[in-house]
């Protein structure tokens, strides 16, 4: 039985955590949203900033590039995390050692992931040294237009996180179901596609969502590995703010990025809701 509590006592308990976030998260966020609707002269409501944001190809390319740098690593890490999770279920013995080591990138800072990509995939890096004697030309993978280096660094960092959640969801599946399917003649691939993936689906959805949201505003990886054009909104925000002092535009870009993240979150809730599964995932 849970006891009730007086409103004042409740407020006192909630205040340290919630109050801190109100001051240091709520105020800056409100300021960002409010600031994007104030006219440049500083007086009154205006859509000027938004009009100039949407009219300028630099920022629209920036928005597209931010989305690309979030979607591509998410897809890449999903494509790798699913087979990894399935293989981990299939092999009991390697799960202990592998199950510990594969998680190491979780604690590796994004900036170090960027460094690893630089020394391996940049021109003069290890891959080009290995390929050159074989006569294979090294494609440009760092500061390239598609942002391949940035995508690889970001995917590398997100694969363990995705695998952790997806393998957890797969491990929670009743083994009898898998055995039954196998006994009835289903191949391993059929079991994966028809049983494991659908049953792990809430976990997969959550992992995809969190990876996307974590990547859409990333700054350090594209700033080290991305091309000079287009630049994602995160970098444009920094340049326009601290270097050009064009704050209304920074606030509009910040609002736009936040809206993208929130829309993705709402889409996630819609998907979960339509599945009729309110069960928390990853547990």
């Amino acid at each position: 039985m849970k006891r009730g509590i007086g409103p004042l006592a409740l407020l006192v308990l909630l205040l340290p955590g919630v109050g801190y976030l109100l001051v240091f998260f709520g105020i800056p966020l409100v300021r960002v949203i409010y600031g994007s609707f104030v006219s440049r002269t500083g007086a009154g409501f205006s859509l000027d900033t938004w009009v100039s944001l949407f009219a300028n190809p630099v920022y629209m390319d920036g928005l597209r590039y931010s989305l690309w740098l979030a979607v591509a690593p998410t897809v890449a890490s999903l494509v790798i995390a699913i087979p990894l999770s399935a293989l981990m279920q299939a092999n009991e013995t390697s799960r202990n050692v592998f199950g510990t080591l594969y998680k190491i990138p979780l604690v590796v800072p994004g900036i170090v992931a960027g460094f690893l990509v630089l020394i391996i995939l940049d021109r003069g890096g290890m891959l080009s040294r290995i390929l050159q004697p074989l006569g294979i030309p090294m494609p440009r993978l760092v500061r390239d237009d598609l942002g391949v280096g940035a995508i690889i660094a970001s995917a590398w960092k997100n694969i363990p996180f995705m695998t952790l959640i997806i393998a957890g969801a797969m491990a929670a599946i009743n083994k009898d179901v898998l055995h039954a399917a196998r006994t009835l003649g289903a191949g391993r691939l059929t079991v994966l596609l028809r049983i494991q993936l659908p049953l792990a689906q809430p976990g997969i959805t959550a992992a995809v969502l969190l990876t996307f949201i974590g990547s859409v505003g990333s700054y350090v990886i594209p700033s080290l590995l991305g091309p000079s054009y287009p630049k994602p909104l995160s970098i444009l925000m920094f340049e326009q703010g601290f270097q050009a002092g064009n704050w209304p535009l920074v606030y509009a870009m910040g609002t736009l990025l936040s809206v993208v993240a929130i829309v993705v979150l709402l889409a996630y809730y819609a998907i979960i809701g339509s599945l009729g599964r309110q069960k928390p995932v990853g547990t």
Partner: protein
């Protein structure tokens, strides 16, 4: 039949470790080569391995006036951030875990919001506000901005742990004459230890590796190790050997904590804070 199963087990094991070798051991080996190559001889393409090794990059790093202070600063900031995050999170987590109240869902969503809204948005906006307040370029400002990122996870992990404490336990203590304060400090705090351990390790890691918020608020005066590493990776100049050494220094505490976390806490404690929305 048994031998076929064994072969397939071996193949699976081989595949898993081949993946590790490619994505983990190979990159780390190259970092080590960069950290120990001899700049007097050089290491130019197409050499795959440097022709001779030396400790010169390490000597340079030790002599560099920026790096060791940056490492010390990172350590201090992370310890303070972890302690303050834990202290701020506990009462709120206690309220969320033990008492039903109206608008609880709203409070939970608000606490989750800093995880959803991209960190760069808050970092830049707080950077601008702190500039007006004179907090830019101060350690205090960096600590304040980092806690915005760590507090939500700590509250969620502690809440998940505290929900597991039966209310009867507190009830019994109260009936036997313990004051609310005593009931909380003598029963709830010790029982919340797994949550503090998991959340604390996660917070320490998040703070130690944090770049964007620290950079936007602290630069150019306050340089944590991650910010310092950025300046060697093309942020200011590109110095690969120094960057390799700083990377190794940066990774050491991460790996120690990682091993600690693996032994102390199960995945499900972390997953409780991370996986469910």
């Amino acid at each position: 039949m048994a031998s076929r199963a064994k072969t397939s087990q071996r193949l699976v094991g081989f595949g898993l470790y081949a993946y590790l070798a490619l994505t983990l051991f190979f990159p780390v080996a190259i970092v080590l080569l960069w950290a120990f190559y001899d700049p007097a001889v050089g290491w130019f393409p197409p050499d795959i391995v440097p022709r001779s090794l030396s400790l010169s990059a390490w000597r340079e790093v030790l002599a560099d006036r920026n790096i060791l202070p940056a490492a010390g600063l990172s350590l201090v900031v992370s310890v303070v951030v972890t302690a303050v995050t834990g202290a701020l999170a506990f009462p709120t987590a206690w309220a969320l875990a033990q008492f039903p109240f109206r608008l609880k869902r709203l409070v939970e969503i608000f606490i989750l919001a800093p995880v959803i809204v991209p960190g760069i948005v808050v970092a830049i906006s707080l950077g601008e506000i702190f500039f007006r307040l004179g907090l830019t370029g101060t350690v205090f400002g960096v600590i304040l901005v980092q806690i915005v990122g760590t507090l939500p996870f700590m509250i969620r992990i502690l809440t998940a742990t505290l929900e597991g404490i039966p209310a009867e336990l507190i009830h019994a203590a109260r009936t036997l004459g313990a004051s609310p304060t005593v009931a909380v400090t003598r029963i709830a705090l010790p029982l919340a230890w797994p949550g503090f351990a998991a959340g604390g390790l996660l917070t320490f890691i998040a703070s130690f590796e944090e770049f964007e918020k620290s950079f936007m608020v602290g630069a150019p005066k306050v340089r944590t190790l991650a910010v310092q590493l950025w300046s060697y990776l093309g942020g200011e100049v590109l110095i690969l050997p120094t960057a390799a050494v700083v990377t190794l220094i940066l990774l050491t505490p991460m790996l120690v904590i990682f091993i600690l976390a693996e032994r102390l806490s199960k995945d499900d404690v972390m997953a409780a804070g991370l996986g469910k929305l």
